[in-house]
Subunit: 145 residues, 2 copies
């Protein structure tokens, strides 16, 4: 178990901001986990188009058999899209989000970013701040407790 | 100009959480401004359904003549929806979001919440932390500068 603080998050947003390709014009946040990260990154980069997508793959920390992705955003006006989540754990969510969005928008460019990336994940995000094997306690749930 | 810190925000999320009606099952965040608030409030209340809606009404601090609301979320499974934004300024965004969602879902209940509420706004949110007449510098833009 590792606590991830707001101050560490600020450093990581600055770090990932420097790594990102300059052509990204749209951010898609995977709700809920990616919401705060997407908000800060969009502020930092001056990107006004922040859309959301919903995903359910866990049920009270118990892994479900499949990932359900819904509320797909309209990306007609996007060219280069950054999909943002807090952590790439198994990678199932990110793979399913990419699959659905790429099939709907085969001509758009898609990149992925996460704060944490587990070495055991099936897919590595294009941009991430840290590799981990631990369970992360994010400030957005911990600091309110 | 008034700086709004992360610590003050945590207090306000706790405050608003206590005010909310217990029947709320879905949160709709107005992007970008409402994203972080929606994320924290959903964590606090244990609400997994966090959807987003997009709104453009300002262009570089210059007020546009009308508010455009788009990427309307699917609320078929919702019963009682909390619309969340950072600040109710003129009230134009909130009025337009409410109008569009109520016309699509006339049988659902809609409530509104914001961290700040300007006395001059055309509509008061059902739940808010503070009234203000100042320009607010939120931590999600200021702390990265």
């Amino acid at each position: 178990m590792r606590y991830y603080s707001y101050d560490e998050f600020l450093e990581d947003v600055r770090l990932i901001d420097k790594l990102l390709y300059p052509d990204i014009d749209t951010i898609v946040a995977v709700a809920r986990g990616g919401l705060t990260f997407a908000h800060f990154l969009a502020e930092r980069k001056g990107i006004r188009e922040v859309l959301c997508i919903n995903s359910i793959g866990y049920d009270n920390d118990r892994k479900l058999e499949c990932v359900n992705v819904y509320n797909l955003p309209n990306l007609d006006c996007a060219q280069s899209v950054l999909i943002v989540d807090d952590i790439v754990d198994s990678g199932d969510t990110l793979l399913e989000v990419l699959k659905k969005l790429k099939s709907l928008y085969p001509d758009k460019k898609f990149y992925t970013a996460a704060l944490f990336y587990k070495r055991s994940a099936k897919i590595a995000p294009n941009f991430y701040a840290k590799k981990t094997d631990e369970w992360i306690e994010f400030f957005w749930s911990k600091d309110l407790a």
